[in-house]
């Protein structure tokens, strides 16, 4: 199986002097294509910092991150934004859908960011993605008219809009009840496997562990297998 992401000796330090806090201490791991990797650990252990660095949102203090053959740490801010647009999808605990837009428009907005998908093509693709996550019937609903599980499905459709090679999910089940949480994780896993897309999920939810290909534990900024 080919490697999607390689992290080597990644360190992240916030603040300086007496305020200095080491969030990541020499973190190294690999993520293979189509692998469903779970990152677990207590609050403040550095999970979110690691996901932010893997997603090219934060730059590490030291170490190297490469994704799909590109060295993320050497890229400019604009190049990293372009890289995210072309390769990475995000799913968040709070869904982060625009309340004034329908489910379809929320997805269409993300689809439209790709140069290849403008106008009617973006509409067609948004509808197809919503159908793929089981939300085809509710495409014209506003987020406030949807349940938490349905909102997260829309958020997954949005994350898939750019046809990513890597999905980063931050506590995707934290706002959901047990059954919805299980359905969402199943959906994430099935969509990712079908597309050959790697998934890195941060969670406190131990019930997800059974569907993961691999689980990494993080504690005080250090990864433990």
């Amino acid at each position: 199986m080919s490697t999607s992401v390689e992290a080597r000796n990644v360190e992240m330090v916030y603040g300086s002097g007496a305020e200095r806090v080491a969030a990541l201490r020499g973190v190294s791991f690999d993520l293979s294509a189509a692998e469903f990797l779970l990152l677990m650990g207590p609050s403040g252990s550095g999970k979110t910092t690691l996901v932010s660095i893997v997603g090219g949102i934060l730059s590490p203090s030291s170490g190297a991150i490469s994704a799909f053959g590109a060295e993320l740490t050497s890229m400019s801010r604009a190049a990293r934004a372009r890289f995210r647009l072309d390769n990475i999808g995000f799913v968040f605990q709070g869904f982060n859908l625009f309340g004034a837009l329908t489910a379809r428009e929320n997805v269409q907005l993300a689809v439209g960011l790709k140069d290849c998908c403008k106008g009617p093509e973006s509409l067609r693709r948004a509808c197809a993605l919503l159908a793929e996550v089981g939300m085809g019937e509710k495409a014209d609903r506003l987020p406030r008219e949807l349940s938490a599980g349905q909102k997260q499905r829309v958020a997954i459709a949005r994350a898939l809009a750019g046809d990513p090679k890597l999905l980063l999910a931050d506590e995707p089940t934290a706002s959901l009840d047990a059954e919805s949480g299980r359905e969402i994780v199943e959906l994430l896993r099935s969509r990712a496997k079908q597309r050959g897309c790697a998934v890195l999920t941060v969670t406190h939810d131990s019930r997800i562990a059974e569907v993961a290909d691999r689980v990494l534990q993080m504690e005080d900024g250090i990864l433990r297998p």
Partner: protein, 394 residues
């Protein structure tokens, strides 16, 4: 393109209405201030616009229509003899005081002209009105000035100097916004009204001099000239300048421009009204900026998500500019409508000309759009500065 800017704007209707009130206020203030200034400048030259003269001859010292020095009456005959002059008529413009029935003084400008002449008519009046002006001790006034003169209408009377003056006709749309009250009279009546008072001697009653023909001892303010058909106006002006010592000839347009330029440049009104418009602009920008900024702040996680996905900066500019343009448009339409209503009301009830032309309306729209987009500039900075890492915080 998903209409995110529009949908975000209309998501919170009460907040949108507050923003619209701010834009409406700004549009109203800017349009009315500009309208007052344009109306004021336009109204300053109304008397000149009303004339059908090609050339106005004035004393060399003339500053503007209402402020000039007298010239001898003989200049009229001299002007009439200049080749290329088809017709020449005199006009008197001079300041004095009106005392209404309550004896309250009102500063007035008496404008004397030939009621049977062809080169000047004081606004929309009938031949019957003009005929009535030929009678001694009569005057014609603008309807908007009745209150200032403390007269009820036709038949009302007051005193100018020693003369008892009766209002015999009314006109409208002739009174400059900032000027003494205009009173129109025949040339002879005007001379009578403006005659210097008799010396106050014991046991001598002051009586008004009776109107009569003009002679060499009389003065006039202007000579209105109609050129013969096909005459070269520039050449005629030069001939009039040469033939009439101490005077200068102006085309009608030059005379109107000179008068308007005086008011525009020599008074602080443009600055004062401009300051009012600027206040409107700043208040509008503050309200719109605050509303747009709040709108971005309320959707900070969603904007952060777009940044995390990799949305380019131009998307954020497009969203905020779309909102700003919509606010400008939806605030402008009622704002300019309200301003037009105020202008109509002011003209009808106060005789004040607030001139909102299509060009003014277009300028106000441009100012409104600029104001909203400038205000949006602050909000877009907030969106561009969003740390995409914010999306990972629940």
């Amino acid at each position: 393109m998903v209409p995110l800017g529009r949908k975000n704007l209309f998501e919170d209707i009460p907040r949108f209405l507050v923003a619209q009130a701010g834009v409406l206020f700004a549009v109203g203030l800017v349009a009315i201030q500009l309208g007052i200034f344009d109306g004021f400048v336009k109204s300053a030259g109304l008397a000149i616009d009303e004339s059908s003269a090609d050339i106005w001859v004035a004393a060399k010292e003339m500053l503007y229509f209402e402020l000039t020095l007298p010239m001898p009456y003989q200049r009229l005959a001299q002007a009439a003899r200049v080749p290329g002059v088809a017709r020449a008529e005199p006009m008197i413009v001079q300041t004095t005081v009106w005392r209404g029935p309550d004896h309250k003084a009102e500063y007035i400008r008496v404008i004397g002209f030939h009621p049977s002449g062809a080169l000047f008519v004081p606004g929309p009046v009938t031949s019957k009105d003009l005929a009535a002006l030929r009678a001694p001790n009569t005057a014609l006034v603008d309807r908007s000035n009745l209150k200032a003169l403390n007269v009820g209408g036709i038949g009302g009377s007051g005193r100018i100097g020693a003369s008892h003056v009766r209002i015999v006709a009314l006109t409208h749309g002739t009174q400059p916004i900032i000027s003494a009250t205009f009173i129109f009279a025949s040339l002879e009546n005007a001379r009578t009204y403006l005659a210097p008072p008799m010396p106050r001697l014991p046991f001598v009653f002051r009586i008004a001099s009776a109107p009569g023909g003009f002679g060499p001892g009389d003065n006039i303010s202007y000579i209105l000239v109609k050129a013969t058909p096909g005459a070269n106006i520039s050449a005629l002006k030069a001939r009039l300048d040469a033939a009439l010592p101490g005077t200068r000839a102006y085309t009608k347009l030059e005379m109107a421009d000179r008068t308007r330029a005086y008011w525009r440049k020599r008074t602080g009104l443009g600055f004062v009204l401009g300051l009012g418009a600027l206040v409107g602009f700043i208040v509008g920008m503050a309200v719109v900026g605050q509303i747009l900024y709040t709108s971005v702040a309320d959707h900070i996680k969603e904007y952060g998500t777009l940044k995390a996905i990799g949305a380019p900066d131009r998307l954020f500019y497009a969203i905020v500019i779309e909102q700003a343009a919509l606010m400008a448009l939806t605030g402008y339409v009622p704002g300019i409508g309200l301003s037009l209503l105020v202008a109509v009301w002011a003209q009808a009830h106060r005789g004040i000309l607030i001139l909102i032309t299509p060009a003014t309306a277009a300028l106000v729209f441009g100012v409104t759009l600029g104001m909203c987009i400038l205000a949006g500039g602050f909000a877009v900075q907030r969106a561009l500065r969003v740390d995409p890492a914010i999306v990972f915080k629940a």
